[in-house]
Amino acid sequence: MYQVIGRRLLQSIPMLLFISIVCFALIKFAPGDPVQSFVTPNMKPEDVERMRHSLGLDQPNYVQYFLWLKHLLTGDFGYSLVNNRPVLEQIVTRLPATVGLMGASLVIAVILAIPLGMIAALNRNRFVDKLLNLISYVGISIPTFWLSILLIYVFAVQLHLLPSMGMRTIGQDSFLDIVKHAVLPCIVLSFSFLSVYIRYVRSNTIGQLKEDYVQIQYAFGSSKLRILFRHVMKNVLLPIITLLGMSFGDLITGAIITETVFSWPGLGSLGVTAAFGFDYPIIMGITMFSSLMLIVGNLLADILYSVVDPRIKV
């Protein structure tokens, strides 16, 4: 098992390298020049060129890439072009906020999606199924920013039950305060994940209920609940594990809109600011983290597969 994990991690190196080349090329081919966004009309051309030189932007693109890569291999993600702070420090500072929010949202979505999806499957084409379908369709189609604004208006502005923005009340640093701030963004994100997951669980459960092993259990007189939770659930979980594995990348960048609307101090909002400012060290840093998480997520999903269904080998 460990050998397999080691081999898979080694295999991810060329993948990460490829991603970094594509990402760097996209940034460089995009219209816009980081230096132009720093200069003022009053600056003399030689000052602008000095600035370009100091940023290393006067070098050919491939040289810039290899320099970036060289530093990365020594653990140096470079400095932001905009605020001069180390990229790694900024990512690490904001990582818990994003991972916490996305992690909590994913867990809530999965915990709710499994029973709700199964209930929908058991009540196929009945009122409950249609209601859950409707909720699911609404959740998939509703724009995140619209739902966010609506929740803020109702729960913060009208009912004064929850804060509308940020991760904490200024001057407070309690866990409860953070939870209070996380409620609304978490609802938005969970609703979005939940709507997708319910559909998966429902269709998988319907498929599983037709399998022979379920009919045999019925023949042996097992109760519906026992069949569902003891036998069917395991099989239903498999596609959810795949989805969760794929969602690992989202842990870093999946909440861009939600973070922006709720002023949540995570990586999503950092990425947006970096994109506007052509701050390529930050963009590259976030992309690398996100890609790594996606690779790790897929690996974990494969391992979990073998745990849930021993017939499957990693």
């Binding site: 219209p31 000052d47 001069n84």
Partner: protein, 535 residues
């Protein structure tokens, strides 16, 4: 490593854009009588102490150091953290750290006298050494301060030396009327903090800045807020508020709701949100001029636009009031602009041809120029709501005089790239905006033929000479005459069509007072936050 300019912030956060704009601090505008600002001013009562003020900012600060600050957020925070030497409002100096600034009769030497007993937030004395150090670091090529160009006159640096603890002398390599405009941008940094730093821009010490302004640094949480506490040793008197907090709120709709919810006390709002916010009755709303011009520029690289009559015809075909109503909702939030210089700029001429709408004249001019069936491409930034409205208006209005306009909404980066190309022929007309400050010489970079930001590509040696003469003319009357000629040339040649002097709108919770004394200020909202208090 570098700071984004106000120009870039404006690109993202405001409605203007693209062209260029200086980082120069500009003078606040007097609010017109009967305006919301005037009513806010009338409310000022007896100052009380205590409480805090939460201001919304749209981004995190960049490098919290005034020799690098160029974006709206950092400049706003620096305004409370650091004190300037002096500011210029409506052409008059308001002295802060400085007590006086005297020019020698030949205008080659300026003597700056500091106030006595100035201190930094850490208790150290602020002296002439700090001012000299700041200027030296600005001039040091290795420090990459964007202010450096302002202190290089005719390829030579300004020389600075300490005379005594409170006196600094500046020697100019040649006469320039723009020197005070350069000095007004200087907010000294502490020598005792930075003297051993090889690269000030990358110094960790910027993360815990020590300034001399009314509020001192308390904490910064990335992506969340910057908190400042009252500085009791402020030379201008103890501030009334205990603290000021700059809260990062990127989404304008969400931050408007946070304002209504009381989580934010002060923010800039869009004209479209003015009525909604004002109608709550909970806020004092203050529209004020930011010294910003929204304009349309003609690309003279295009053959069809090389004829002056065509450009003038387009100007006559449009109605600035209608453009303002279409893009800024009402004339309360922008004034029609006759000149390329904004009202806060020195020597703005009042009697420039405003090109009042005259469709018949426009048609005659087009006919005379042989441009009956003209087709033009109008470029603007697609994310800019005001420019989008302007473009639709111009397209419709020019159709009335027989000009077909093809709209080219572009991403801001793509737009800038094309606009900065000296041989640009990708579009014929485009929209832009700038804030250039009180010193008219700063506008040179947008109009002189050899300059990068000469978006019209208009080239006229006599016109360039006028700019150069005005820069070194020390006689006020003669200088005013030169700038008047410059404004007339632009209007006659119609290379740039000034549309509107736009306003920004501050919304602040009604519990705050002292707003008149705090003085509205372009970009940073208020010049002196120490004067604001809770009623």
């Amino acid at each position: 490593m570098r700071k984004r300019t106000i120009f870039t912030s404006a690109l993202i956060a405001l409605t203007l854009v693209t062209s260029a704009c200086s980082k120069q601090e500009t003078a606040p505008q007097a609010s017109p009588a009967g305006s919301p600002a005037a009513s806010a001013a009338a409310q000022s009562g007896t100052p009380k102490n205590g409480g805090s003020l939460v201001m919304a900012v749209t981004t995190d600060p960049e490098v919290i150091n005034p020799i690098y600050a160029g974006d709206r957020t950092t400049l706003t925070i620096d305004q409370a953290l650091f004190a300037p030497l002096f500011q210029i409002n409506d052409g008059k100096k308001t002295f802060y750290l400085a007590d006086s600034l005297t020019a020698s009769p030949d205008f080659l030497t300026y003597t700056l006298k500091l106030k006595n007993n100035l201190t930094w937030h850490d208790g150290q004395k602020l002296t002439a050494d700090d001012v000299v150090f700041t200027i030296e670091k600005i001039l040091d090529e290795k420090q990459h301060s964007f202010l450096r160009s302002s202190f290089i006159i005719g390829d030579k640096p300004v020389q600075v030396k300490k005379v005594d603890d409170t006196t600094v002398e500046f020697k100019l390599p040649q006469v320039t009327a723009a020197f005070e405009g350069a000095l007004v941008q200087v907010f000294p940094i502490p020598k005792h903090i930075f003297e051993n730093e090889a690269d000030i821009e990358k110094s960790d010490k910027n993360n815990k800045p020590v300034g001399s302004g009314p509020f001192k640094f308390k904490e910064y949480k990335q992506g969340e807020y910057v908190a400042l506490d009252r500085f009791d040793g402020y030379f201008g008197g103890k501030p009334h508020l205990d603290s000021v907090i700059y809260r990062v709120a990127k989404d304008p709709n969400a931050s408007n709701l946070a304002l209504q919810n009381g989580e934010i006390n002060l923010k800039l709002i869009d004209p479209q949100d003015y009525k909604k916010i004002n109608d709550t009755g909970k806020f004092t709303t203050i529209p004020y001029f930011e010294g910003r011009l929204a304009y349309m520029v003609f690309n003279l690289n295009i053959d069809a636009l090389k004829k002056k009559e065509v450009r003038q015809a387009i100007a006559y075909a449009l109605d600035k009031k209608q453009i303002i109503e279409a893009s800024y909702t009402s004339l309360d939030f922008a004034d029609p602009a006759p000149s390329i210089l904004t009202p806060d700029t020195l020597y703005q001429a009042k009697d420039i041809n405003p090109y009042n709408t005259d469709v018949n004249k426009a048609k005659e001019l087009l006919k005379a120029a042989g441009a009956d069936k003209l087709k033009l491409r109008l470029a603007y930034i697609n994310s800019n709501k005001a420019q989008t409205s302007q473009a639709l208006y111009v397209q419709q209005k020019l159709k009335e005089v027989g000009i077909e306009v093809e709209l080219q909404p572009l991403d801001s980066a793509a737009f800038s790239k094309k606009a900065l190309n000296k041989d640009n022929k990708d579009f014929d007309i485009s929209f832009g905006g700038y804030i250039m400050g009180f010193e008219p010489d700063a506008y040179k970079s947008l109009y002189v033929s050899t300059e990068q930001y000469n978006y019209s590509h208009y080239s006229n040696k006599d016109f360039d000479t006028l700019w150069n003469q005005a820069a070194i003319e020390t006689d006020t009357a003669k200088r005013a005459e030169l700038y008047k000629k410059i404004q007339q040339v632009v209007a006659d040649e119609m290379t740039v069509y000034p549309i509107a002097y736009t306003k920004s709108i501050i919304a602040i919770d009604k519990k705050y007072d002292g707003l008149k004394e705090a003085v509205t200020k372009p970009v940073v909202m208020f010049e002196d936050l120490s004067k604001i208090f809770i009623k």
